[in-house]
């Protein structure tokens, strides 16, 4: 899967938990939760949905590696291949 496709999925799922925001305006280094005002419950929903949509297992202990788009993409890249 190409990076752009993954990003589109990420944006779509973030929009589900924070519909009032524009996830595509996030910079790569920005803290996703802080910038989109996502609490820990919503963050969990997002990761679970992402894991289901991409068909990759994202264990709780790795959640710390998914804080911004850059780290999230690196992490998903590793898990997808």
């Amino acid at each position: 899967m190409k990076e752009a496709e993954i990003l589109n999925i990420v944006y779509g799922l973030l929009k589900q938990v924070a519909p009032e925001t524009d996830p595509s305006s996030l910079t790569l280094d920005e803290n996703i939760r802080e910038s989109l005002n996502i609490d820990s419950y919503d963050a969990l929903q997002f990761i679970v949905a992402l894991s289901e949509k991409l068909g990759v297992d994202i264990p709780e202990k790795d959640y710390g590696q998914t804080g911004n788009l850059k780290n999230l993409l690196i992490y998903l890249e590793k898990r997808l291949h």
Binding site: A18, P19, E20, Y41
Partner: protein
């Protein structure tokens, strides 16, 4: 192994006298009265703990920042002098709207030194909850940062006539005569401050809590609450000299103030404050690296740690950990048992609420733990289960019977008012008893067990959300005709906020409308309060007098019996 401070619960409970505990405080005998900040900071700074770390901040980038008791004394004195200089008088309210950064703690304790009333706001609140709280508490001064100011506060200013000054912690120069630079004013202020004589009944802390019928209520606490902060630190958290303590709660909620700021300082131990939100690996690393002895956290966090499927004892050095405590909502028996195995130490649940100012019912190190139970009343606290009806209150003596959890009034940290709402305050008491609003039962061994709320208030992630506040906000959306909000049971957070919405004629019931309403509520209320789920309904069940029957919506949601429907409006 360190011996517990409380060795014999029954004996201590029977012999307990609050006035004897006053011997711990050194303000009264020095003629200073009883001031929380003196007992928390100055006495230690001037005594033998000056160089001891009072608070260690773990910043987002994992950098450590130690503030000793002497340094904390200096910083809080500077802030008290700033308040003085600006003419903030005794009893005026100073608010913070900040994450867990040093400035929040300096504001809290500096305000108490100046005899101002301190009120912390949860930083993820949206503009509407912030406005409600600043307005009701007649905020004179707010400490925040540039981002929150621009995003959440600036547009409210015209509606807040009492708000005279706003400090921003991240600007170097004053922006106007009203919007000032925290650093600039702190630098100019003297680092020494003599706390004015403080009466134990002088107001100190204001915490907002949710109501079922109206907007949030401001529960007011006085300096004498420090008795409970001290005592629970000694008997429940079991503080010993040189302990390192970590309370994970945010000061925006009462736990994060009573136990994230005051109690550990009063007891002279070192407090850890992590600026970052929950992250399982980071939290385990902090427990290890900071050599935490006592850890006070919440069921939500313990459930998340369970999800990691790790054995933390094996992967981290947690040998310094002596005790884990939990509060916010009941920690279920299975979770207590998991945590005891995972950490290899006692895991003690306890119960209290904003109005009680400190822990009221607890499990103790020296007492057999009943997993899933709230424990037994703190020495000095009389708790009972009662039946309440139109005729008054009757204590239930049968064990195992369910009823209202009530506390005998008169303990030091009992709230003294709901700000400007005497009638609402009076309603909380019948005779000598404070009605907590929670339902409980007591077993034959004297342990209390939480059953649920007696009203419609939602308990989510350990904090309270008032359905009325959420409904009022939803009603402002152009597509919404009516709304009712309930707490839907959810495994990880206890309950989640769910809204039932009747749309205006012509509006389509589709996922776009749903997301639009959720987004609108998030913008107004913030993610901690806004509904996570919305269901469209054609009409809401109401009484004949037009009151929405939230309990019926909840029963239907859960597939439970609908109960007495005699007052239901015919459909």
């Amino acid at each position: 192994m360190v011996n517990p401070n409380l060795t014999d619960y029954s004996k201590t409970y029977k012999a307990f006298d609050w006035e004897k505990e006053s011997q711990y405080f050194n303000g009264p005998s020095a003629g200073l009265g009883l001031n929380i900040a003196h007992e928390a900071v100055d006495r230690h700074a001037n005594g033998g703990l000056g160089d001891t770390t009072a608070i260690r901040f773990v910043r987002k980038d994992q950098k450590r920042e130690n503030i000793s008791y002497v340094k904390l004394q200096e910083l809080t004195s500077r802030f008290a002098n700033v308040l003085d200089r600006l003419g903030i008088a005794k009893g005026e309210t100073v608010y913070s709207l900040l994450g867990r950064v040093p400035e929040l703690y300096i504001t809290a304790l500096g305000s108490l030194k100046r005899l101002a009333v301190f009120c912390p706001l949860f930083s993820v609140f949206g503009p509407e909850p912030i406005f409600q709280r600043l307005s009701k508490g007649e905020a004179s001064l707010l400490v925040t940062n540039k981002l929150f100011y621009e995003k959440k506060v600036e547009k409210l200013i015209d509606r807040l006539p009492h708000l005279r000054y706003i400090f921003l912690i991240d600007v170097e120069e004053d922006l106007s005569k009203k919007v000032l630079s925290f650093d600039r004013w702190m630098k100019k202020a003297s680092s020494s401050f003599s706390i004015p004589f403080t009466s134990p009944e002088d107001p100190a802390l204001l915490h907002f809590t949710s109501g079922t019928t109206g907007m949030p209520k401001g529960a007011l606490h006085v300096h004498k609450a420090v008795y409970t902060h001290y005592l629970t630190g000694k008997l429940v958290l079991d503080f010993h000299k040189n302990d390192v303590f970590w309370c994970t709660a945010d000061p925006g909620w009462v736990t994060g103030t009573s136990y994230g700021i005051i109690s550990p300082l009063v007891n002279g131990v070192t407090s850890i404050v992590d600026e970052q939100e929950f992250d399982a690996m980071r939290w385990y690393q902090i427990l290890e690296k900071e050599k935490v002895n006592i850890w006070y956290t919440a069921p939500t966090a313990i459930r998340r740690l369970m999800r990691t499927e790790m054995d933390p004892k094996k992967e981290f050095d947690l040998s310094k950990l002596r005790l884990v405590l939990s509060v916010g909502e009941p920690l279920h028996a299975a979770e207590v048992i998991w945590a005891q195995q995972a950490f290899g130490v006692p895991v003690l649940d306890n119960w209290w609420q904003t109005e009680t100012g400190g822990i009221m019912i607890a499990n103790y190190r020296s007492m057999e733990v009943a997993p899933g139970s709230m424990g037994k009343p703190l020495p000095g606290i009389e708790a009972a289960v009662a039946e309440i009806d139109g005729d008054g209150i009757e204590l239930i003596t049968d064990t195992e019977a369910q009823g209202h959890l009530v506390l005998k009034k008169g303990f030091p940290s009992m709230f003294r008012a709901y700000l400007h709402e005497q009638e609402r305050y009076n309603k909380c008491f019948i005779g000598d008893w404070y009605i907590t609003g929670d339902l409980a039962r007591r077993d034959r061994k004297g342990y209390f067990w939480f059953v649920g709320r007696a009203d419609d208030i939602i308990k989510t992630s350990g904090h309270m959300v008032g359905p009325f506040e959420v409904e009022s906000s939803l009603m402002k959306h152009p597509s919404v005709a009516e709304a009712a909000v309930i707490g839907k049971p959810e495994a990880s957070v206890g309950e989640m906020v769910k809204a039932f919405v009747v749309l205006k004629e012509g509006v389509k019931e589709n996922s776009e409308t749903k997301l639009d309403i959720i987004g609108f509520a998030r913008k107004e209320l913030g993610p901690a309060v806004a509904p996570k789920e919305i269901a469209f309904v054609q009409r809401l069940p109401k009484t004949r007098s037009g009151k929405i029957l939230r309990r019926l919506l909840k029963a239907r949601e859960l597939g439970l019996p609908e109960g007495d429907l005699s007052t239901l409006e015919p459909s």
